[in-house]
Amino acid sequence: MSSDIGGSTALAAGTGKSDADGPGGSRGARSGGLLAGPVGRNLGLVVALVILCIVGVATAGDRFASVDNVLTILRLASVIGVVSIGMTFVIIGGGIDLSVGALVALSSIWATTLATQQMAEDTHWIVMVFTAVVVGGVAGLVNGLVIAYGKLAAFIATLAMLTGARGLAEIIANRRTQIVRDSDFLAFFSGDVLGIPTLVIIFALVAVAGWVLLNRTTFGRRTFAVGGNAEAARLAGIRVQRHTVKLYVLSGVCCGIAAVMLMARTTTGSSTHGTLYELDAIAAVVIGGTLLIGGRGTIVGTVIGVLVFETLGNIFTLNNLSSSAQAVATGVIIVLAVLLQQRLATGGFSFRRPSSGGQAGGPVLTGAPSGAVSGGTTTDGGPGGTRPAPPGKTL
């Protein structure tokens, strides 16, 4: 184990990630800005969310700001949120998973067949949860094996899984919607703990677990390393292929959990569940500041990204506006949030520069170390920055 840690520390230095700076480095560090930390990287998104909330309060007043409504937004965000967290890992690891929506559908179907429900009735509803998570995990394993060892492009392999898994779901379900009959299952997952819906709690738990896994474990370090530069990671002693497999299994397991949540939310399993989740999740992950080419990203950003989209939908419904207008607004928000974020993170607002550089303590506190350690290597052609695709890369 000790050499494990040694390897990963050496690696972290090699790919320009330092403990002080936190994973993902930061482009803001180049300008030595105060916005170099995770807050800075997600500031654009936070601003977008705050603006949305202000718009919500201004247009819908008490109905928007009510506890019930906020909980509704959180509850609706929780399913896609869990999927997005799995997606965050895959994308940081340099891959992509287009099959998430289909895996949610397949897991929900598999866990609600009469046979499974009968077994759950005879034993405990945990059987349904187990089934969904295992189905998601196994499908993720297949994805991972095909991508890592079969050398298929992740885009193609998961695209195949997208159509295949949904087709299988349709076959198993005979294109019917399967009603969940286990009332204990529904009572548990649709209930609440101290007024907070169980689904929201699950989402929070998954998010926290994801954050810890990404930022506080060797697994997380390796994910950044593999996504940043697969060849460098391999030379640093990481088994890139095996790690890639794990990432897809993780994403699959997240889909299984999301399927359970969706079964509780809709009281059904259906092959239409999770339609277009892949795009929603990728959108949330990307506006959350994760690089689509891998090597950088945050869980916090993804969570805020999911909340932005869900809040938007809520505001449009509260104001009785059409779904077409909402689609346009969603597109505009994606572009604006990412633009805003880039400006803020790269110090596009020039007044930041003198303020941090002028003060005596400024450079010592943040500017100099992070600029030297990660700003330089992460973005400027170091192993973590833009790079030619190495031969062993499994993107």
């Binding site: 609706l76 187990f130 295992v134 995990g137 196994v138 009603i179 809709t266 569940h273 999770g274 419904t317």
Partner: protein
């Protein structure tokens, strides 16, 4: 280093084996065996007092419809098959359901080349399928157009349509009957996919009927005909409108999700009217312990009717209950309201969603 290298190496196969064996365990759970597929089939029973049902020359009918990715659409194909099976002189050639226009065009071209006696066609997109339908008609093969109309009146021998506008009118009229004396009543609408003409027709009919009794739609949201979409749209809607008197939900498939959202929000101050007429919805109406009080039928047996008409046309027979000796050009099906009072009458032809 080598020690740490080896350990994970050994671990992976274990993890894989564990996952796989769990997968095998779970694999037993795909069975959906106890299935009573009695419903969903065509009516088949109530025949007219004529010799129409007696076996005539064997006719081959080509059938093509969009992919059965929705309970109603699955019901359509199932009912058409069941109807064809009930006639010994009908051989139904069913093309695999597709949402790809060019695939569907090639399916019809195949039917033309094979020289089938009639084609029953539920186009994915009526306008896009018009040229190939014209081609079939010119080749002397009668085309029976179902549900989604062609652009040209020459492209079909006869057309069987559900009444989307009429659905809205039926739902609106029912809501009026229930709330008529209260002009301040809050009426909400949960539509299907908003960009479809059928959704616009339904909404228009609903608005027109409500206007008759001085009501209007106060809150309108659109879902996407899926359970999940219905749940999400309804959850937001219930937050948008703290007090509601009536909801019309366009589609019973998404209605399962709508009911889940209502249940989860703990709301019951209103009544709900469904749409399309799934067996699930009708069972809920029968039991009478949810807010779902009625549903408006959009018949899932219209392709089955198409098959019957195709057989009659191919055998040169007429609709025996009409004096007219030719099959009519167009048949628009009624969109009745199903309530607890008359649900028994309709539940047998409802589709399983």
């Amino acid at each position: 280093m080598s020690a740490t290298r080896q350990r994970p190496f050994r671990r992976l196969p274990y993890a894989t084996v564990a996952l796989l064996s769990a997968g095998v365990l779970v694999a037993g759970c795909t069975s959906n065996t106890p299935e009573d597929s009695g419903s969903g089939g065509g009516g088949g029973g109530n025949t007219a007092a004529s010799d129409n049902d007696e076996a005539g020359d064997t006719v081959t009918i080509g059938f093509s419809a969009p992919a059965a990715d929705h309970g109603w659409m699955a019901g359509i194909t199932e009912a058409a098959r069941a109807e064809a099976e009930s006639y010994e002189d009908v051989e139904l050639v069913v093309a695999e359901g597709t949402n790809d226009v060019s695939t569907q065009i090639s399916q019809v071209e195949t039917f033309i080349n094979d020289g089938v006696d009639a084609i029953v066609l539920l186009p994915f997109d009526g306008a896009a399928m018009t040229p190939v339908a014209l081609q079939a008609m010119e080749a002397g093969i009668p085309v029976i157009n179902v549900d989604r109309e062609f652009d040209s009146p020459f492209a079909a021998r006869t057309t069987v349509l559900g009444d989307n506008y009429g659905m809205g009118v039926s739902a609106g009229t029912y809501v009026c009957e229930q709330l008529g004396d209260n002009p301040d009543a809050v009426v909400a609408e949960i539509a299907g996919i908003d960009s479809l003409p059928l959704t616009q027709d339904r909404s228009q009919g609903f608005a027109d009927a409500l206007a008759e009794c001085g009501l209007d739609v106060d809150n309108r949201v659109a879902a996407d005909f899926t359970v999940e979409g219905g749940e999400e749209a309804a959850s937001n809607l219930l937050q948008a409108a703290p007090q509601i008197d009536a909801i019309w939900n366009h589609d019973d498939d998404q209605g399962v999700g709508v009911l889940a959202a209502i249940e989860s929000a703990g709301r019951d101050e209103f009544f709900m009217v469904g749409g399309a007429g799934s067996a699930n919805a009708m069972r809920a109406i029968q039991e009478g312990n949810s807010v779902l009080q009625a549903t408006v039928i959009y018949p899932s047996t219209q392709a089955a009717d198409g098959v019957r008409l195709a057989r009659l046309i191919a055998q040169d027979k007429a609709l025996s209950d009409l004096v007219e000796i030719e099959i009519p050009r167009q048949i628009v099906l009624n969109a009745p309201v199903v309530t607890a009072d008359n649900v028994d009458q309709y539940i047998d032809t409802a589709f399983e969603s």
